[in-house]
Symmetry: C2
Subunit: 493 residues, 2 copies
């Protein structure tokens, strides 16, 4: 056994234990008896403590010191890159700070939920101040001596290799164009809305068919219901959840397709990487690129919605939509709203960009928590053209900040940008894609994504994955072109 | 923080991690995608390795050395007793022996399953020889220097405080009486058998009602289907499984009631003991006493089956059984068979006693694996009066030996003996119990068991739990009296 072998054997157990901790999360959101919550919190904390001890295990430093990277192949070097970064990250944060963050964010989620229910930002503000202070302390520890900013250091947790400046450049170009397009769409005549009630058991049957159509492998996966849909697990056990609402079957179908995008990524990774650092999606941005291209560029395309219209007609009979063209317009309807997670693909990024700017200001100290609600409301009205009616529709709508996720929001829009790039390259590689999509056959699209993105897992850095797949570095331009083409045509602008 | 506090904080995390490992087992048997098996094996092994490292952690010895037991209250002393015994047990077995046992038994289960499917004992014998040799080595390490036998040392894993000699005395008295009663029953006229098909979804609805009737708390539990019913978890997350067979609804109902007995024990433990060594059922024998008294003495009583007859009639209409009296006789029908898990309460212990005698002989070296099949077949024919027709109905029917469970079988019959004692005491304490049971109200019975057995968890040694509850030490006599009364009356002998 060489030092590399020893390190990888140790890492393999860590990866397996991380999968176990993830499964506990799945269990909690799907099947756990509600009365088990207090015990589950202790079980999760015990698992986290085991994982933390392994992440800072001093043997890792010894092994790393003994390994000569140049003697390793590309896979070995990529493994080493991940392990080094994770070890550096874990050992930079003092144990007592990590413990304080864990304690405060664990309680903060409950405080946030109560404040949101009461529509009372002031009830959450003191807790959020604590979280922000601790995260700034953590960011400073992560950035120390590296000549990078606190926010850049936090971004690394979700999107290594991408800086705040990279995102500012992309998002800065995106925002005015999206606003302009959105204004034109709001002027134009809106498509109708879907009416009627749709049996929920039948939604689940059709959603399972959709999942299979998008290549989700149920031999190593399963579909359950959860309040907030998510995908969970890597390797041979990748589960998704969805939800049903009799009045809104699209919520079920497109939640499923979104989560299948995440799950197909995990299922598509080269099986040689199982339980290694390469055996997981490489970043949140690349992950989101898969869920978004499945959901939007493929799932909400004219061609594919034509097939879905036929499927819904087969299940529900005449459900009040006269033809596939109208169905396509209904699926892609742009509506006013407050909530990020309910936003359509045209407006979604405006929600994210708002959060990106506010959280950078919170991290830098340019914005204080006491001024956050006003800043949110001002920015929202400027971007959307109508005022926030209450905090639960504004600054209190997302859980992220309460649990210490700062630097996470921008990966949603980065994922959309990446999806735009990948979609452009996919259409070039598969010119007759729409013919297949119109038959409900996504295999050419999902096959191309598997081959060019998914199978690599963590082998390449996130930005390189996209650059290799597209033959050029990612920019916001393809996403903008796609949205402009789609919505000017759809709205007859 | 005193040494005792430190030790208990460490132990609390160990208990939480053991619950996590148990939940993985539940997941595997109920919801896990089948393709996840290879990854799950690595996840389980990683958890086991974490738990093993904690069980032999040298800090435990330091803490134990610093603690003055006399300064602790009864709960503290009981915690210490469990922790000392577990630490002693874990550190007596050399690491390489533990690893070999884990490796061999992990593979042996598959070999056993294949041999059973092929009805070929010779295909399993070499593997079983390895298992027996390793378990003898382990037993010798556990017994060394303590003046106890290998088999006594193995019994401690499941039933601390009970020796092979104790069991020999009980079972030696049980066997001839059971054989005699069984012979008389076989001479008498048999009740009819249940005929027809029973909707399986309706079985699940009724089984959930049964579970609630027996006090199973679904706020901290849930019911799923599994191939082999089991109960799993402690504290606030105690789950059961059952199975359905359209031709045999009693299999579903009484599997459920049996598992509810186990689960109610875990749910009934004083909540102050959560995630401590006292927060789990104290032994396999006491556990089985709860499942058996729920299933048999209560669930198969004339009074309770009268209520169940009404419930089945409400669900299935006229299902071909004319009255509650006939229903009672059908539920308690004594039938010829080969399989322990399918045996009725009269014959069940004969199956167990056979295994107890054979496994002691294997452990002592009086019986070799090569002679095991013949020894099994001879003993079976002597006890049951007809020959074993094939190995899957004989020596290959149980998984236990393949996975290294030696010393486990007798706890099944010990549980029945304990159930007999508890039932006698319960009937004295609640003279009008049958009136309540006839209304489907088990609360007087389950309440008495909770108060006198379940709530104590691991506070007292197993035998002491039963002795305290009954006001006298356990013997086989009450079980024999109960069985004699029940079956002579039922069969009109």
């Amino acid at each position: 056994m060489t030092a590399y072998d020893d390190l990888m054997a140790f890492q393999r157990d860590t990866e397996a234990l991380a999968q176990v901790a993830g499964r506990l999360g799945w269990d909690q959101e799907t099947v756990m008896p509600r009365g088990a919550a207090p015990q589950r919190a202790e079980e999760m904390a015990a698992m986290e403590s085991v994982l933390h001890a392994r992440r800072i295990d001093p043997r890792i430093a010894d092994w790393l010191a003994q390994i000569e990277p140049a003697a390793l192949d590309a896979v070995g070097q990529a493994n080493l890159r991940h392990i080094k970064r994770d070890f550096d990250r874990a050992t930079r944060v003092p144990a007592d700070l990590a413990a304080r963050i864990a304690r405060v964010t664990s309680a903060a989620q409950g405080t946030w939920a109560e404040a949101r229910a009461a529509d009372d930002f002031a009830a959450f503000a003191p807790t959020l101040k604590e979280v922000i202070a601790l995260k700034r302390e953590e960011g400073a520890a992560l950035a120390e001596g590296r000549g990078i900013g606190i926010y850049d250091a936090m971004l690394e947790d979700y999107e290594p290799g991408t800086t705040a400046a990279d995102l500012e450049a992309m998002f800065g170009a995106l925002r005015p164009k999206l606003s302009e397009l959105r204004a034109a769409v709001r002027e134009a005549e809106a498509p109708p809305v879907l009416e009627g009630a749709f049996d929920e058991a039948a939604q689940m049957t059709l959603t399972a068919k959709l999942a299979r159509r998008f290549g989700y492998d149920l031999a190593t996966g399963r579909i359950d219901k959860a309040v907030h849909p998510f995908s969970s697990g890597s390797g041979l056990d990748v589960r998704i959840t969805t939800r049903t609402n009799a009045l809104d079957p699209f919520n079920c179908f497109y939640s499923t397709v979104h989560e299948v995008g995440h799950a197909a990524y995990e299922q598509g990774i080269d099986s040689a990487y199982l339980l290694t650092p390469l055996g997981r999606g490489v970043s949140m941005g690349v992950h989101e690129s898969q869920s978004r291209i499945y959901e939007n560029q493929i799932g909400r395309s004219r061609a594919f919605t034509g097939w879905l219209f036929g499927e819904m007609t087969a299940v529900y009979g005449d459900f009040g939509v006269p033809d596939a063209g109208t169905f396509y317009r209904i699926v892609n309807r742009v509506s006013d709203g407050f909530i990020r997670t309910e936003a359509d693909e045209l407006q979604y990024n405006l929600h994210v960009l708002l959060r990106f700017d506010l959280e950078r200001a919170l991290m830098s100290g340019d914005l204080q928590v006491d001024g956050l609600q006003a800043a949110w409301n001002d920015r929202f009205e400027a971007d959307f053209g109508y005022p926030v009616d209450r905090p639960s529709n504004g600054v209190l709508q997302d859980v992220h900040w309460s649990v210490g996720l700062l630097g996470y929001f921008p990966t949603y829009s980065l994922g959309n940008v990446y999806a735009g790039c990948l979609h452009e390259a996919l259409r070039e590689a598969v010119p007759d894609l729409d013919e297949a999509l119109a038959r409900g056959d996504t295999s050419a699209a999902t096959g191309w994504l598997r081959e060019n993105v998914q199978k690599h897992g963590g082998l390449y850095e996130p930005r390189k994955v996209i650059t290799r797949a597209c033959g050029k570095p990612p920019t916001e331009a393809p996403l903008l072109t796609y949205l402009e083409n789609k919505f000017t045509e759809l709205y007859g602008i």
